[in-house]
Assembly symmetry: C2
Homo-oligomer: 206 residues x 2
DNA sequence: ATAGGCTAAGTGGTATGACCACTTAGTGAG
DNA sequence: CTCACTAAGTGGTCATACCACTTAGCCTAT
């Protein structure tokens, strides 16, 4: 038992979440109950919970309890921004990487989707672009659908992280030009390289 | 002061590290000293420290103290592997994303490099491939150089994370075929799309 | 004087108990 | 039936007391 206690507790929590098939939004046992059941001090439980919170895995609400999170990980983003990404280049890096990931997602999507998938996406995308007033939200919602269909959860999670950071830093590079968006959406029927071309045109039309 | 205390402490620590220009390996004040100076309880200090530890920012050694870490973030990798990447598809996701990032890096590199950069890289790459016996290491070293020249730190950090995980899971997809590597390296002189083609051929030659 | 072991101080690790602030549900008065 | 209040439960914080471990300094025996 040389390992640190809060890491053991992390494992127990992990087991608990899996065994009970907890979903995002579900409630975890209270700190006092956990410390009783695991035979550890409440402070140790709290240390474990804090490290989960900073990672965006859980959310704690005073007076209510501890809940499983929907990824989001805004804490992580914030910490990355203060601790790791301190350089001036970081903002540029983030936006650049975001674009790269979106390109990758487009290619992945195209390599996996059949015609029906594509036409469904196009329909959905048109609806999104028409509905949303805020172009940043429209872009995010649209690409959320694309990433879902790209079928790589890890890729999507990183992208969501970057999107949140981009929103925080209010450095949105997204065009309000709806026409460009419609062109881009239509290009989804074409070959991979044409889609990328349309995407690059879209991005550059700021 | 609605914000949570441990987040405030995180800020204070950040300030301290910056003001004193602490380097990786340097020692932080002890928990008791911190709780005195900041006028907070030791348990709150510890909660802040745990969230830094889980992120791989600091390292604590019983009886010695708390020390700043050099990046790498192996803790983060481990946690990703246990908490975020629990699905069965995760290994596939990781390898797939790693490939996508390497493609992105190649394109970034090509968009930024001039002829001299390219020829220098080719020389270096040839040397690496000839020297390294382990194909996984050769691949990692080679792409490390490429990512450095792609000039996006965030992209590189994520790739390093994935590389470490790939090494841990011993699921290396890398060919031992040196010939394919040499072909790939030579392609670096060509246009972007030809490089990508050579890379894909390399990856598929497992 | 030196080598070896011992001791004390400092440090992180953990448990416990005591409050506080907040939320919720239930209870009771109107 | 409605509204206000109360009690229980929950996270947030602090203080204290140990434990386990490391280090440095002292003291002893050689």
């Amino acid at each position: 038992m040389g390992r640190k206690l809060y890491l053991e507790i992390l494992n127990e929590l992990h087991r608990y979440v899996n065994e009970n098939a907890l979903q995002p939004g579900d409630k975890l046992p209270s700190e006092r109950v956990l410390s009783d059941q695991l035979n550890v001090g409440r402070s140790s439980v709290r240390e474990a919970l804090r490290s989960l919170e900073i990672l965006g895995v859980i959310e704690t609400r005073r007076g209510e309890g501890t809940f499983l999170c929907d990824i989001s990980g805004h804490q992580l983003v914030e910490l990355l921004s203060t601790f790791i990404l301190t350089s001036n280049k970081s903002k540029t890096d983030i936006n650049e990487l975001k674009v790269l990931l979106e390109k990758s997602a487009l290619q992945l999507f195209k390599s996996r989707a059949n015609e029906i998938d594509t036409s469904k996406l196009i329909e959905l995308a048109s609806e999104i672009v028409k509905t949303q007033k805020n172009s940043f939200d429209a872009h995010t919602l649209l690409f959320r659908e694309i990433f879902l269909r790209a079928n790589n959860q890890l890729l999507m999670k990183i992208w969501i992280l970057l999107s949140e950071y981009a929103r925080m830093s209010e450095d949105s590079f997204i065009s309000t030009n709806i026409l460009e968006y419609l062109k881009f959406i239509n290009s989804l029927n074409c070959e991979s390289n044409e889609i990328i071309a349309a995407y690059e045109k879209l991005i550059k039309s700021v």
